[in-house]
Symmetry: C2
Subunit: 347 residues, 2 copies
């Protein structure tokens, strides 16, 4: 039996086909480097300065409605624009560029400035899931949209510039790099086995039950065997669903529940609002059949040792391959030990 | 002519084969997010608490010699270990892992605690280059070592835990992910053209002279057309050299000079010790002939708007593809405008 908890080793990420490095013995290393700020005091339920709060003014004069659930609008500083016109260049076959068209949206998860997903009710989270689905369906009506990235940056250390709970959707005219990788790996597996890669992977994980964090009726949260961030997880649908557009109502409710439990466990690890970038991966849109694609959602949280000490994916990681200290199994154990009641509620 | 400075577009990274997204119009976006600490006051030339200063004690009782140039030792908290024994696993064909053997070293660049590369003399930088070469040659004697990653994390925001100027070398028993990608792209090009990808790319860049920052006799620093970090650069050798082991003495001196000028220009942009992760990419060792490989060094610096506001490669970037705001041409222009005299000297 392989001694995962003893020897440095690499593990294969089935979705990208790329390896990550695990150094189990290295968590004993003392830390003298940068520590992050502790996440500030309680926030007010309404902040007159916040561009996401109901009734407030945004950039360029728009005013938010007095919304009561969640609220979506086109990003006032979109990275991609709908009016972009096709253009390509291949100077010397070496300077290769292509215009990219897109739509960027912002979704406020709640009218309440002081909440985050794990502090919201299941019903309120379900309303966010409903809106994600609606936006996905509406955006994919545009024939030119080939991929829709739904994501959330949570916490200042993940580049989030406003603590009001919100996420983003970037829809674009070509298929991005990470999706190409996952398409390729999933297609290869599907062609060989006639089942999706993630349905077989999920069955094996459920059987082993070592890295499973939450098992709902329709969705499962698991620390992937190849997790590279310290407490990285994935939510995987039990059914092979290609995109969020195809979620049934009972599935949306179950997804909301799993999302809630997972993020509560996250907050409880260090008794802090746990920062992460998270987002769904799903089949390209307006791009023919993709039976190989199996919807899932990645969570990439940076904290390693405490609320203020994160993992740096820097030098070696940028130049060679991702590297982690604690094993995915140790991270899973910690996540499983957490209460499913949010630490703020217990007080 | 393609309107790079107007339209959102993607560019192809020739070395990885992967695209990055450029949003030229987006730099006007206001920033309300996290700001980094300003890099602290002057440091003493010698710090009795520093484990890299000459004569000081390190972890586990070793004591540094009273070195006068640069100094190298095995990392006291190595991520890879020489004693690792071969082991593999392919549980269900899905949980795939392999033991990884390696040696991790730390190189102190100077006995002086208060310096950084751009503040050192050309001779002192040349001594570091000499040591990099010696270490590369010595490590590649081990037949089991397939790749040697030489790199530096500079600055607390790049996970560097000690401001004493130093870098690292991780040598390992397999070829890491990023090197595999670059091998593949370079081999494809070499087979087609009989020249290295980077020699043709460098010729084109020298001809255009839009993104060239420093041109030495043997080395050139350029903002790659596909740069994803705001002020990302590459140093490329004019000769198609496969690894640092093959640098001639005049080349080592020229490399030291280019390194010095580039890092001085970096420090001058925001009048701060410019943080980055940097590292050499070179041919695998003990792995047969690699005529396609062309030595180069990447610089990935995170600062975007000021000494305290960095670019966050988060949600969209982690899940889809890297994204940048200012264009590589704008970054090159700023770098070219900088003085070649370090801002601290001028005062
Ligand atoms: O080895 P150090 O300087 O302690 O650690 C730093 O560089 C390593 C190699 O890039 C990373 O794995 C660590 O996350 C980073 O903090
Ligand atoms: O769009 P925001 O929240 O202003 O910006 C944040 O998310 C974006 C998408 O991941 C990133 O490109 C930015 O670097 C980050 O700061």
């Amino acid at each position: 039996m392989f001694q995962f908890s003893e020897q440095p080793h690499k593990r294969k990420n089935l979705l990208t086909g790329e390896y990550i490095l695990v150094s189990p013995h290295r968590s004993k290393r003392p830390w003298q480097g940068q520590v992050e700020d502790v996440v500030g005091a309680e926030r007010p339920a309404y902040d007159p300065q916040c561009y996401l709060c109901p009734g407030n003014a945004r950039a360029e004069g728009s005013v938010n409605p007095a919304y009561t659930n969640s609220f979506v609008f086109v990003n006032d500083f979109s990275a991609l624009l709908e009016e972009t016109v096709p253009e390509t260049q291949a100077d010397g076959g070496l300077l290769i560029a292509e215009a990219e068209r897109g739509i960027c949206k912002v979704i406020s998860f709640s009218p309440r400035h002081d909440l985050t997903l794990p502090e919201m009710s299941t019903e309120a989270i379900k309303a966010v899931v409903d809106l994600w689905q609606k936006e996905f369906v509406d955006l994919s009506v545009h024939e030119w949209i080939k991929y829709i990235q739904i994501f959330e940056n949570k916490g200042a250390i993940m580049g989030c510039s406003n603590p009001h709970p919100h996420g983003q959707i970037w829809a674009q005219s070509s298929i991005p790099v990470e999706i190409e990788k996952e398409s390729k790996q999933q297609l290869k597996y599907y062609k060989e086995k006639g089942r999706t890669l993630l349905s077989d992977y999920l069955s094996l994980e459920l059987e082993k039950n070592e890295r499973i964090i939450v098992e709902g009726e329709h969705f499962v949260a698991v620390v992937p065997f190849w997790a590279s961030w310290p407490y990285e997880t994935m939510i995987i649908s039990k059914r092979s669903i290609q995109n969020i557009g195809a979620f049934r109502d009972d599935e949306k409710l179950d997804f909301a529940k799993v999302l809630q439990e997972l993020t509560i466990r996250y907050d409880n690890i260090f008794g802090t609002s746990f920062p992460y970038s998270a987002g769904m991966h799903q089949a390209p849109t307006n791009d023919g059949e993709h039976p190989e694609w199996h919807w899932h959602m990645h969570f990439y949280p940076p904290l390693l040792r405490s609320a203020t000490v994160k993992k740096f994916m820097v030098g070696y990681e940028m130049l060679a391959m991702p590297q982690r200290d604690i094993t995915p199994e140790q991270a899973a154990k910690t996540l499983k030990e957490q209460s499913t009641i949010h630490y703020k509620v217990k007080r």
